[in-house]
């Protein structure tokens, strides 16, 4: 236990100190890693803990981003107030999907396809919603990028980095607490065998709904961050299934249902993808798609040879 805390402390210290050493590019990569670590953690609550395979988490990124974004764009409502509306909107979506799926007994592959269908449905809906700019997108004003303005969430890259660090750390702490709580035990029981869980007095419907709601609420926050970090939102991008896949790659590669898996997975995937880009640039290869082919091959190798992800064997090696 102490070993774990020491390592965790070292990691935290390194992450806090990072902006002092890293250039703007490295900082943006680190922010992206933390973003995926956070979103992966959120998805992991639903799939890793409760065993409900969502392939449509882009829905919550998108609804979160568009809700907070539109409130800012149309009414000048800042991200901190918008955040709560975004969370409420995403939780509402999640509860509707969860209610329909769990009441109608949809599970496994069918549940996964239902989540895709809702995400796609919403994407096309936003394509036709003039209020948010339709397919042409919505662009948020950026007054300045120099001084820390937390109220409007405008400032230098380091501000975004630290925000994302705080979010990732918060998500880690929340998940660590959840997995050791009644909810964690019940979710894992449902994941392993729903019928047995129910026979032990667990109202599986209610606990699955809770997992879906928490996961959606957490993902909503990542959506709000997305909106105010990138400042332009296109339905085609934000709701796309590839965005959902991006989110879930980290936890699956890192180690499903583990606390460090999403973080490690996000780091490995982001660095790999960047590394491949750099390598190809250095070799002077610019064929579009080649980077993704490498990426796909690496993914294939990891999925084939490390079915439980990278983290479990490392954890064993480090005796954590």
């Amino acid at each position: 236990m102490n070993r774990r805390l020491v390592l965790l402390g070292l990691l935290a210290a390194a992450l806090v100190a990072l902006p002092a050493f890293a250039g703007p590019y490295a900082l943006s990569v680190a922010t992206l890693i933390l973003y995926f670590a956070y979103a992966g953690q959120a998805w992991n609550v639903m799939m890793g803990f409760a065993g409900q395979l969502s392939l449509g988490h882009s829905l919550y990124v998108g609804v979160g981003a568009y809700t907070a974004g539109a409130l800012y764009f149309h009414f000048g409502i800042g991200p901190w107030a918008g955040l709560w509306v975004a969370i409420a909107a995403c939780v509402a979506f999640a509860l509707v999907i969860g209610f329909l799926a769990f009441r109608f007994g949809i599970s496994g592959v069918y549940f996964a396809l239902l989540t895709i269908a809702f995400a796609e449905f919403t994407r096309i809906g936003f394509d036709h919603l003039a209020w948010t700019g339709g397919p042409g997108g919505m662009f948020l004003r950026v007054e300045q990028r120099e001084t820390w303005d937390l109220a409007n969430f405008r400032g230098p890259p380091a501000m975004y980095y630290y925000t994302m660090l705080a979010l990732a750390a918060g998500a880690f702490a929340l998940c660590a607490a959840l997995v050791r709580s009644r909810a964690g035990y019940y979710w894992q029981a449902i994941r392993e065998n729903e019928e047995a869980a129910q026979a032990l007095g667990i109202n599986t419907f209610r606990w699955k709904m809770l997992a879906v709601a928490i996961s959606a609420a957490m993902t909503a926050v990542s959506g709000v961050f997305f909106a105010f970090y990138y400042n332009n939102l296109f339905p085609e991008q934000i709701f796309h299934i590839s965005r959902s896949i991006e989110i879930i790659l980290g936890p699956i590669i890192g180690g499903l249902g583990t606390l460090f898996g999403p973080i490690l997975g996000a780091a490995v995937l982001t660095l790999l993808s960047d590394g491949v880009t750099e390598l190809l640039a250095a070799l002077g290869i610019e064929t579009p798609g080649i980077k993704q082919v490498f990426y796909g091959l690496l993914l294939l190798v990891v999925v084939m040879f490390l079915p439980h992800g990278i983290w479990p064997p490392i954890a064993r090696r480090l005796r954590l």
Partner: protein, 238 residues
């Protein structure tokens, strides 16, 4: 304590359970026996809330429980095991039992304490940190019982927990159930292993083709000609 009154269930026209009535007294151990396909597990599943009966009533501790969901039945005080064991394979033995214990414990620490007590009782304490997937079949059966016990039931439904156990292990299990029963736990068991049934049950209900064909004390049951004909005659497992 548990009362079934003319309970029936049909699957696609086939009457799996046909107007079955029996009673289990508080503090007793009763056994439900009968050849394969007699409707024993179907009866269990109706008591446990897996599916509702087509007709009839199931009353537990003075309250009608037919139509309740499995989790509600468990909350009402009925614990059950599955004939085909259903461990939470990826969780440790201790965590498996803690899931059950959390039903009546407010904290995980309390649940851990209860779970350890139960594991001790079922001789599984030494294996508490192993993943449930690594257990042998007899241990999985024990785990199944441990999990159900951890929910602190007043009535325990056991579905063939002795099957596959060696005689020594079987006697050990019998001893566990006897001591639990002495402490006030009511038990209803489905069992093929007659050695265990005769050792445990004070009252036996015999099902055949979904109907109750005999009931009574074990000594009377083994002499009942109808039972001998349908059941004991073709069973070799004594």
């Amino acid at each position: 304590m548990l009362l079934l009154h003319r309970v029936s269930k049909a699957f696609r026209g086939l009457r799996a359970v046909d107007e079955v009535s029996f009673e289990v007294d508080a503090g007793s151990i009763a056994a439900l026996i009968g050849p394969n396909g007699a409707g024993k597990t179907t009866t269990f599943n109706m008591i446990a809330g897996v599916f509702p009966p087509d007709a009839g009533e199931i009353v537990f501790a003075g309250r009608a429980i037919h139509g309740l969901r499995p989790d509600q039945v468990c909350v009402a005080g009925i614990g059950r095991t599955f004939q085909l064991v259903k461990p939470f394979a990826g969780l440790s033995v201790l965590d498996n039992v803690m899931v059950g214990a959390l039903l009546r414990e407010r904290t995980t620490a309390g649940a851990r304490r209860v779970a350890l007590e139960v594991l001790e009782r079922l001789h599984l304490a030494a294996k508490r940190d192993l993943p449930a997937a690594s257990l042998t079949l007899p241990d999985r059966k024990r785990l199944e019982v441990a999990r159900a016990l951890a929910t602190r039931p007043t009535l325990l439904l056991l579905d063939e927990v002795m099957a596959g156990l060696r005689p020594v292990e079987c006697d050990q299990m019998v001893e566990v159930f006897r001591s639990l029963n002495r402490e006030g736990l009511t038990i209803l068991l489905i069992e093929h292993v007659m050695r265990a049934v005769m050792a445990l049950a004070g009252h036996i209900v015999v099902l055949h083709h979904g109907r109750v064909i005999a009931r009574g004390a074990p000594d009377d049951i083994v002499r009942d000609p109808a039972v001998l004909e349908c059941y004991l005659g073709e069973e070799t497992e004594v």
